[in-house]
């Protein structure tokens, strides 16, 4: 039963120390990024209250997504590192079901972490705003659009992580490769060749969280593009797990 497999994947996640490390770290990264963005903001006071400023500040609340991506990779590639994959596939020889359960659990985790980091980031932002003599504009639609974008971005990155971990079963390669790609390669391309860079997955993610950066796609287009990347990754991951020997 699929529900048993999902429950088992959640139990696997819950019975190691991974989440106890990842969730606080994801919150810390997002909160630190938001706090940093406010503190480097030129001009305090009411200048912070503009939609433009709020967008600049909150768009970095998705920074924790990179750790969710890593968690996703560990959820699938970790089974090969710890040699638990054999046991898992003995229990569920129709292996695509295992990956489907992992994708569901990963997506749910991504959403949950997205909610928590968004709330924490917004709370911290409101406190720092007050200390700088500004009111956090909770009623500005920009706030909620950015936070919603951050949720979508984090959940999709979790799914991409689970899929990558299925495609690249060596956990160390998968994690270092993904970090190098998203943090270095794409970053460079977005800055130096935005015409190409804007079509890449992390740049699409930046578009979803409404990063005020020249050359990015509009948020909705970014969301569609990242959703497409995610679907291709998930499909490839399922194919890989179903056809390869363990």
């Amino acid at each position: 039963m699929m529900s048993d497999l999902i429950a088992a994947e959640w139990l696997k996640l819950r019975t190691t120390r991974l989440l106890a490390g990842i969730i606080p770290a994801a919150i810390a990264i997002s909160v630190a990024a938001v706090a940093g963005a406010i503190l480097v903001h030129e001009g305090g006071g009411t200048a912070l209250e503009s939609s433009e400023s709020v967008r600049r500040v909150l768009s970095v609340s998705g920074a924790g997504a990179i750790l969710v991506l890593v968690t996703g990779i560990i959820i699938s590639a970790g089974e090969h590192r710890d040699l638990t994959a054999g046991d898992t596939f003995l229990t569920t020889p129709r292996r695509h079901r295992v990956l489907a359960a992992k994708l569901i659990v990963g997506a749910a985790l991504g959403l949950a972490v997205g909610v928590v980091t968004s709330l924490a980031s917004t709370g911290v932002a409101a406190v720092i705003y007050r200390s700088r003599g500004a009111r956090f504009p909770f009623t500005d639609a920009e706030v909620w659009l950015t936070l919603a974008g951050s949720l979508v971005y984090t959940a999709l990155f979790a799914i991409i992580g689970v899929s990558l971990g299925s495609l690249i079963r060596n956990q160390v390669f998968a994690v270092t490769g993904a970090l190098a790609w998203f943090a270095v390669v794409e970053h460079t391309l977005v800055n130096f060749a935005p015409g190409v860079g804007r079509w890449l997955p992390a740049a699409a993610g930046q578009a979803i969280v409404r990063t005020p950066l020249e050359g990015l796609l509009p948020p909705a287009a970014g969301a569609s593009l990242l959703a497409m990347y995610t679907a291709v990754a998930a499909w490839s991951g399922i194919r890989a797990v179903a056809t390869r020997d363990t």
């Binding site: 497999l5 429950a7 088992a8 139990l11 190691t16 970790g78 040699l83 020889p93």
Partner: protein, 293 residues
């Protein structure tokens, strides 16, 4: 029952298993023997759906593992290459399997007791010894109360007491009518426990036989005129070995055949019998594996 039919598995240009066929019936312990690298683990991986055969089939009660309705209730496997998350406790490892396979969680505690891990069950597996991990793997295999047990080198990491324990368990399972297949590269670990052997070398079958048949075809004889008898055996083309007490052991020949040869050689038979099972098995195994060493 396990049936392996013309199984071949190649990795690139390497043929790990070549046209291998054998059966392991229920109610018996079948030893799956061969030196390291002979293809035992690959055969098990194909049998358990972890690797796709290049050709041929490996079936459990007539079905491929992937087609079993409830694999954990049908088959319990202890694989050499299986590991544990070091940060998960022993009992949580079992709980994950119970959850995924829809098994009864009430079996966990009694099984932990059976394998002697009750007190260590809330410790993280990272702190377990090799023997404790092996015991946990055995508990995991037994969670579904399976009819078929596939054990890949189960004695690895166990102390002598543990090896005896696993031998007794295998005997009990077979006596309950279950199918038990146990692989080993060390004959002594399993010799006393198996009813039947399948010996492979370089991926191919060397010998498949019940132990009873092996001994029936491995005569021992003591005669008054040993030299004449040895000459007659050579003339008959029979491999033979003179044991320490002067008894001549003749693998591949029944006692009645040897009685005939003795009579034609004019030797008086003092004692005619069958080789002890463990010795007959050892002779076969050594002959099967000697050439490549």
């Amino acid at each position: 029952m396990i049936e392996v039919r013309a199984l071949t598995k190649t990795y690139g240009s390497r043929r790990a298993v070549r046209d291998l066929s054998f059966t392991a019936p229920s109610g018996k312990v079948t030893g799956f023997l061969g030196p390291n690298g002979a293809g035992k683990t690959t055969t098990f991986r194909c049998l358990l759906g972890l690797a796709e055969p290049t050709s041929g089939a490996a079936l459990i009660d007539g079905a491929a593992y992937r087609d079993l309705a409830a694999p954990r209730r049908h088959v319990g496997a202890v694989l050499e290459s299986t590991g544990f998350h070091p940060g998960r406790t022993g009992s949580n490892h079992l709980r994950v399997i119970v959850r995924a396979a829809g098994l009864d969680a009430a079996r966990i505690d009694p099984l932990l007791e059976v394998v002697g891990l009750r007190t260590a069950s809330e410790q993280r597996v990272g702190g377990y010894s090799l023997g404790m991990r092996q015991r946990l793997a055995i508990a995991a295999a037994l969670l579904g109360d399976p009819k078929v047990l596939v054990l890949d080198e189960p004695a690895n990491g166990l102390d002598p007491e543990g090896v005896r324990w696993i031998r007794r368990l295998m005997r009990t399972w077979a006596d309950e009518g279950r199918t038990v297949v146990v692989s080993s590269h060390l004959l002594a670990e399993v010799a006393q426990a198996v009813d039947r052997v399948v010996i492979i070398r370089e991926g191919a079958l060397v010998k498949e036989a019940d132990i009873a048949d092996l001994t029936a075809e491995h005569a021992t004889v003591r005669v008054d005129r040993t030299a004449a008898m040895l000459g007659a055996l050579r003339a008959a083309g029979a491999d033979h070995e003179v044991l320490a007490d002067g008894t001549i052991a003749v693998p591949g020949r029944s006692p009645s055949e040897i009685g005939g040869i003795a009579a034609r050689a004019g030797a008086t038979v003092i004692e005619l019998g069958q080789r002890a099972p463990a010795e007959a098995l050892e002779a076969i195994y050594l002959a099967a594996t000697a050439e490549i060493e």
